[in-house]
């Protein structure tokens, strides 16, 4: 019996220690999963400034939780579906600690607000569409560094986004329209003369966005674009240079694939990279998403194997899906077409 007692005590101690070890640490989880985009102190960056007092005051923990859990499909913010509820709650608590003196609003998230959708559409068009988009598609771009001036902390969110609609209750939307967000372009329409019924009409109209078509990642399985050239390696390189220049790209560098890894004499001369760039396009891509470096600069690798020269490039449409950015999808489709045109012209 005493042996059993000791064993039980040891078990209890082990369990307590493990539980304590496993308790999610909000600060660490935030730093690893959120801090890169939202800033370690919540001051924003690629993502919105979570420490902004008016933001903290106007959203409840339910809204924060749902945003982390479901993300904003196609609008950069990923869904953290792999995190446990305890971990998400720990992150929410940490976000609250970024503005400890702010008391968040208490909302009845179960309340359904009804209103005149036709009038709501008219009011939305007059008051909201300019920033949030005619169909609730939101402002363009992201990222403080490249996309917008540093004094503008928030890009108007996409109100037609499935993640937003899942996270925001009618009450939360109504509250935000009524009181606005101080320190952002979002005005307090309740103080601008809009009455309660008119605001309810807008909420009812925004809720109709749930019926709109929502973003899905592009389904592309081919990670690379590959074509074979009938020409020799040197001639293929020259053809490729001409084709890139013909599409308004500047050839910025030609090198052996192994350049920078081995002394020149030891490098495999049968694999050559042609780098080319259209700076206007690069600037646009970085404005859309500052993390697009993996696509930069444009590059096609030519490899000679058994007398056959093949041209290979990454497939931008394949890579785009990993950025959760619908605007980037469009730019990557454009880039895909350009790659195809350049490669086809080079092998003609």
């Amino acid at each position: 019996m005493p042996r059993f007692k000791h064993f039980s005590t040891a078990l209890l101690l082990l369990f307590t220690a493990t539980t304590s070890l496993a308790a999610p640490k909000g600060d660490l989880l935030y730093e690893k999963n959120c801090g890169t985009c939202h800033g370690l102190d919540g001051s924003g960056g690629v993502g919105v400034p979570l420490s902004l007092p008016s933001f903290q005051a106007s959203v409840d923990d339910h809204f924060l939780f749902q945003n982390i859990r479901y993300g904003r499909p196609g609008r950069v913010m990923p869904a953290f579906s792999d995190l446990s509820d305890a971990q998400v709650n720990a992150i929410v608590r940490h976000i609250r600690s970024l503005a400890p003196h702010i008391k968040p609003v208490v909302l009845d998230n179960s309340k359904v607000i009804s209103g005149d959708i036709i009038n709501g559409k008219k009011l939305y068009s007059e008051n909201c569409g300019q920033c949030h988009g005619a169909n609730g598609e939101g402002g363009h771009g992201t990222g403080v560094t490249f996309s917008r001036p540093r004094d503008l902390p928030i890009i108007a969110p996409a109100l037609n986004n499935a993640g937003f609609l899942a996270a925001a209750s009618d009450e939360m939307i109504r509250h935000t329209i009524t009181y606005g967000r101080q320190g952002t372009p979002m005005q307090a329409f309740g103080r601008k003369g809009q009455n309660e019924q008119e605001i309810n009409d807008i909420v009812a109209y925004i809720r109709t966005f749930e019926n709109s078509k929502h973003w899905q990642p592009v389904a592309v399985d081919e990670a690379t674009i590959t074509m074979e050239s009938e020409y020799g390696l040197e001639e293929s390189v020259e053809n490729l240079k001409r084709a890139a220049v013909g599409k308004n790209f500047k050839v910025i560098r030609i090198q052996n694939l192994e350049d920078g890894m081995f002394p020149e004499a030891e490098q495999d001369k049968r694999s050559i990279i042609v780098y080319f760039c259209n700076f206007s396009f690069v600037n646009r891509a970085i404005n859309i998403d500052p993390r697009v470096g993996l696509f930069l600069p444009c590059r096609i690798t030519l490899t000679e194997h058994d007398g056959v020269v093949s041209l290979t490039a990454i497939n931008p449409r394949y890579m785009s899906r990993f950025y959760n950015n619908s605007e980037l999808d469009e730019a990557c489709s454009e880039m895909y077409d350009i790659y195809i045109e350049i490669m086809e012209e080079a092998i003609l």
Binding site: G35, P290, G293, L294, M319
Partner: protein, 158 residues
């Protein structure tokens, strides 16, 4: 009787502990690997170069995107792309998986954001459509694990 109950208790405990430990390791957003360094861009760049070296990677090239953009009249903060690899492994990998050529060497994007620096790349395991073999999966997982470890080290630096 007591022994059976103890066995059940132990088994339950083991399951709970395993689940908790797994939960700690899950990172959430897994397709882009990103980190924010508290260091300014020049310091973070140096630290990144040095940490890559500690993991036996060499930097084969640095593409100075910001220089190209400002040279063409565009405003940008510091923005570079680092190409890194292990040379001998690079040769083996390219010989075995020539379709991977377009994605090699591996890349990291590093750019300034005010006084801090962001480093980002795509999780190498997303290249699974290139090859579905267990060996290839192990390779991309190792790259992922190295990048995550490197980022964890850099995150600690003040």
């Amino acid at each position: 009787m007591i022994a059976n109950q103890l066995k059940k208790l132990l088994l339950t405990l083991l399951i709970v502990i395993t689940a908790q430990v797994q939960a700690i390791e899950i990172d959430g957003s897994s397709q882009l690997l990103m980190m924010r360094s508290k260091q300014s861009f020049p310091e973070a760049m140096l630290a990144l170069q040095s940490t890559l070296g500690e993991y036996d990677y060499i930097i084969s090239r640095v593409q100075r995107i910001d220089i190209g953009l400002t040279g063409m009249g565009y405003n940008t903060d510091m923005y570079r792309v680092l190409f890194f690899t292990k040379p001998n492994e690079f040769r083996e990998v390219i010989a075995k998986y020539p379709e991977l050529t377009a994605y090699m060497p591996l890349k990291l994007t590093i750019f300034a954001e005010k006084d801090e620096t962001i480093i980002a790349t795509v999780d190498p395991t997303v290249l699974r459509f290139i090859n579905s073999s267990a060996e290839f999966t192990r390779l991309t997982r190792r790259w992922r694990s190295d990048i995550v470890a490197i980022m964890d080290e850099l995150r600690e630096l003040e």
